[in-house]
């Protein structure tokens, strides 16, 4: 089933070119090595037509793929970091942020808004793996929290599309606390009887895996997505052995009971609508 998008027709607006790759170009699939036609890949929602490999997609593309056309209304779009620690490694964090903002055209690593998915109103948060690996600092934590609170206030299902390298080091403990903040917001949503669906995409790790990404009422994952807490290299160093095949993938998490369903990208809209209908009031 993996990698066979069924909503191609409905998703015709998706044939946008992928950032940096001109449409019409042939490239090699990073998974199966087959030559693939970029336009075809884009039409298949950035899934390899040959092997079903799910490429990472930026948040705007993801939103276009997921919501009913023209239905997305973004909020909290202008939040940006104040660099609370005035952090500097090889380059100052402020500069790194500026570079990422220029590169992506986004203020930070998550986009939140209201939208419709197959006619069902939702609050949607989509993380952007292209922005400092979608690491979570104060802005990401705040926007996720506002999305959850909006879901609770307006009695709308909350869909969190996660992808993250974890907490953002450059914001130190301010980042770590975002884990508790987002989790507390989900506890409130839960107590209010609200629905949260997590869509874990590649990669959902560390501080984000250990907070809201593991707290959905339903957790679905894209095929092959890396999902886990500790970095594989850290684990390999600790146990001084090679990691098992398929370790920390969506399939591994399903096998061990931490993911409810694996859903191919092409099925996501249909599946989300179905889950909302089952849980909706």
């Amino acid at each position: 089933m993996a990698g066979e998008p069924t909503e191609k027709a409905e998703m015709s607006s998706v044939s946008e070119r992928r950032a940096g790759v001109p449409a019409g170009l042939w490239t090699r699939c990073q998974k199966c090595g087959q030559m693939v036609y970029e336009k075809e890949v884009a039409e298949a929602l950035n899934v390899c037509p040959s092997c079903g490999f799910h490429r990472r997609v930026d948040a705007r593309t993801r939103i276009r793929q997921l919501v009913d056309p023209e239905s997305f209304e973004e909020f909290a779009a202008d939040l940006q970091t104040v660099d609370p620690l005035e952090f500097k490694d090889r380059i100052p964090y402020k500069e790194r942020i500026r570079e990422e903002q220029e590169k992506t055209g986004e203020k930070d690593a998550v986009i939140v808004g209201r939208a419709f998915i197959r006619g069902r109103a939702v609050v949607l948060a989509v993380m952007n793996p292209g922005f400092i690996m979608a690491s979570m600092g104060a802005v990401v934590g705040e926007k996720i929290t506002r999305a959850i609170e909006k879901g609770a206030d307006e009695n709308l299902p909350v869909i969190l599309v996660t992808a993250s390298g974890g907490a953002r080091m450059q914001e130190g403990m301010v980042s770590l606390v975002q884990m508790a903040k987002t989790s507390a917001a989900l506890a409130r949503l839960h107590d209010a009887g609200g629905l949260c669906i997590v869509v874990a995409t590649d990669p959902t790790t560390a501080g984000v895996a250990a907070s809201f990404a593991s707290l959905g009422d339903v957790i679905v994952a894209e095929p092959g997505a890396m999902i886990g807490f500790a970095g594989p290299r850290v684990i390999a160093n600790t146990i001084k052995a090679e990691l098992p095949e398929g370790f920390q993938t969506a399939e591994f998490m399903l096998e061990h009971g931490f993911v409810d369903r694996i859903v191919a990208r092409g099925e996501l809209r249909k599946e989300l609508a179905r889950l909302i209908d089952y849980c909706g009031k």
Binding site: L85, M169, E171, A184, L186, A213, I227, F229
Partner: protein, 377 residues
Amino acid sequence: MSSTTIDTESPDLLAANVGFLEFEAPLARIHNDIEQMRREARESGRDLTADVARQAKRFGQTIRKLYASLSPWETVQVARHPKRPLVPDYIQRIFRDFCELHGDRLHGDDHAIITGFARLGGHKVMLVGHNKGRDLKERIKCNFGCAHPEGYRKALAKMKLAEKFGLPVVCLIDTQGAYPGVGAEERGIASAIAVNLFEMSRLRTPIVCAVIGEGGSGGALGIGVGDRVAMFQHSFYSVISPEGCAAILWKTGEKAKQAAEALNLTSKSLKALNLIDHIIPEPAGGAHRFPDQAAANLEACLCDALRDLKRLKIETILKRRYDRLRHIGGFFSSAQEEVRIAASQAVRTVRRAAAPRLTGRLASRRATSLPAAAHAG
């Protein structure tokens, strides 16, 4: 021998069993000088009492001076000192009638986290704390304080027990982080920590947390959501270890010192950022040299917090607990919405000694953020 008698704040006492850290080299030198004087006194029969006393006084001054302004990296060394008191040491000193409760009722009993009923001051509490282990055998048994999912689930199960019977929860944090291993991933370490954050945010009983040594990332936060969060003066609390941060951002673990500076991981920095509520004072020389004094200070802090919280209705506590988390990350700016950078302003005040003019800084911050506002989205 009268010639070797020195006052009670003696270098002997301070050097006893704990040795000297790298930054304590001046102390080691004075200690050596004193030893040498004593040997000389013994061998020659000369009375060097006054010289020894002078050196001892210098030792005292030096240790106070060193510990009054530890750098972040030095703080990390002290917090990780192998002789630093661990949760069992505090149980022995300030918690009475400790009744340990084992197991998560799901998979096993993780020795990296200890849980059980205890009495503290006049309070019956549920104690939850990391255990790094004292000797090698114990350290291996409890994975050096790095908990598996079972540890976090055990902690939560016992917290729920406390909730049911109205006991406040005391969490003592001391870990490098959660255990990075295959089994931990297979049994859902991320999920276990996430569920603890979720449940602790709404647990209907007071929770008081204190970082006693290392506060290592998610593994620390997994038992670290509470109504009051305190830190020992020379403990640290960080999103990632300085070594890990250096390896990623500087591409070499050798920049750990710089990373420690950059991460703002000391109690002083985190208090200035409003991320913690209290700093528990440590005697000059550190908790590892004066465990009794450190324990007394910890007890005072925990008891104060428990007393305050017990006066409040649980609804008030829960509301404040949420608000605390909700506003703690107010470190973002927005062109349209209220700018909430009061806390970050506070840390700058501390850093620059002179308080910056708020309006001026705000104005310049806004000005610099405006061009970026014209982005495509």
